[in-house]
């Protein structure tokens, strides 16, 4: 099955979900899809460029607060507000990416964390504007443009989120398969070599960081109007860790894996937190199990069953390739 068929079937099946799911489940499902989108945006950095951001929550929070403020103060049509929120978040991300991509490895992780904490501090520093610890409540979902109002119902919102998720997936997929994406793979594998070949690696890292911020901000911008409020929790550093775990457990460097990871964890959390308060313990155990026994993640486990392992000349298991090699 090629990926296009798979995509169409998945999209079709996803469209049928509201028909079979009880209404109370829809809230969780929508939040899960939003988190899947958020996790996928981080995969651009982690899986494709091997830039470990420990502050990706900043993208989410930025998108959420920007859309919340736009909706509260300007009463813009919801889709317009979301698009503007993404654009503004990407603009804010530009200088941040400029600074962070001067570094790599641990320094990159620490810098991204620092910027996320800065955002958290700003929320409390400008209470009049951001609502401080109370956050922003009563975020409306104004209709328009062209009289569109389907997103005012929960089912309608589901379709809007699904559309954003599938569209973002297609965009991200095109990005990582483009000439640009090939350079990202080079940076991931060996950055000094990539520079020696003639690529300005920092420019590529900046662009992918801004793109990751954009998709992360889209997730946040979808969340705030859905929940109806934005609280500083959306900027809390712990979420950066959670989403990183979702990417790794889902299968980094696959785009689909992190979506599955995000959806899987949010659904599981919702189900388990109702029966046990030990949920974080289970979350941690799953993470440890994956890192130790299945570092390729959920998607890696699923696809390994259908694809042949690559030819490995020189390995004892592959005598034919070894002979061809000598």
């Amino acid at each position: 099955m090629n990926w296009k068929t798979g995509f169409v079937i998945t999209a079709f099946v996803a469209c049928l979900v509201p028909l079979v799911s009880p209404n109370y489940m829809m809230t969780v499902i929508i939040e899960a899809l939003i988190f899947g989108l958020f996790a996928m945006s981080l995969d651009l950095l982690v899986g494709y460029t091997r830039l470990y951001s420990f502050g990706h929550v900043a993208a989410y929070g930025l998108g959420a607060y920007t859309s919340a403020l736009l909706l509260l103060h300007f009463n813009l049509p919801l889709p317009i507000a979301i698009i503007l929120a993404v654009a503004i978040s990407m603009a804010i991300a530009t200088p941040i990416a400029w600074v962070c991509t001067r570094t790599h490895g641990v320094s990159f992780a620490m810098l991204t964390l620092a910027f996320a904490q800065l955002g958290y501090a700003i929320l409390y520093g400008f209470k009049d504007f951001t609502g401080g610890s109370n956050g922003l409540a009563g975020i409306p979902r104004p209709e328009g443009p062209f009289g569109l109002d389907f997103f005012q119902s929960k089912i309608g919102y589901f379709y809007m989120v699904l559309f954003c998720l599938l569209g973002s997936y297609l965009l991200c997929r095109a990005l990582v398969n483009s000439p640009f994406g090939a350079v990202l793979a080079g940076i991931r594998e060996n950055e000094p070599k990539t520079a020696a070949l003639g690529y300005n690696t920092r420019a590529y890292k900046r662009i992918v960081a801004i793109a990751a911020y954009g998709f992360g901000a889209l997730a946040g911008a979808l969340y705030a109007p859905f929940a109806g409020f934005a609280s500083p929790e959306l900027f809390f550093w712990l979420i950066s860790g959670t989403v990183l775990i979702m990417v790794i457990v889902g299968g980094s460097g696959t785009l689909i894996g992190p979506i599955i990871g995000g959806v899987f964890f949010l659904m599981l959390e919702n189900q388990l937190s109702e029966v046990t308060s030990l949920w974080p313990l289970i979350f941690g155990s799953i993470f440890i199990a994956f890192v130790m026994f299945a570092p390729q993640g959920i998607w890696g486990l699923l696809t390994a069953r259908f694809t042949k392992p690559p030819v490995q000349p020189g390995s004892d298991r592959d005598g034919e390739a070894a002979r061809a090699h000598s």
Partner: protein, 249 residues
Amino acid sequence: MPILECTGLTRRFGALVAVDAVDMAVEPGEIRAVIGPNGAGKSTLFNVITGVLAPSAGRARFMDETITGLPVEQVAQKGIARTFQLTHLFPELSARDNARIAAQARLPGRMKLIGGASVIAQSVERAEQALDRLHLSRFADVPANMLSHGDQRLLEIAMAVAQAPRLLMLDEPTQGLSIEETDRAVEILREMLADGDLTVILVEHDMEVVFKLAHRITVLHQGRVIADDVPEKVKANDEVQRAYLGGFE
């Protein structure tokens, strides 16, 4: 007119002068070997020319443009491709993708974010040609880290060739190879260079390789050029014999 001209090129590390006022001119189409004992400054010279290290003094001109002071990627964009003394590859990517990323480096559409099918097709074609020139076509789909050490060295050269450079700088291409692998690599290199379309600077320890390939030899000793001549004369040079060759015939 020389394609590469170094004048008084110097690099100090504290009190150590690794490259000491090196003058060197390489003509188009020439295969130049840079030899010298360990620590003579050969790799440092490479690093200064390619922008990995900034020079402490002097300059290098490439095709009549000063390249010293440029960052490494801009030097590469001028048309200088290099390999490293320790193999530098993209270990988990296939040989084809390694060469493809190299081939794409100087194509105009290299930064296309979406689409770019023609850029990809063009770089894949160039990559496959480069792999073919280095006799690596049958390993095109094999991840680089699964290749033998000798083929990894050749793959790095294929990547440099795929960049379509005007000047190719090879830092000890036969380093760590067995005698058989070295012979094979030299044969492949000789065949590749037979067209004469490439200018090459070659750092090499193996004198047999040097005398088989080079048109002209520059000998470095403690950072200084002690000889710069055709192979026969370098071989006959007393100072070179004392410093390095130790009676190689």
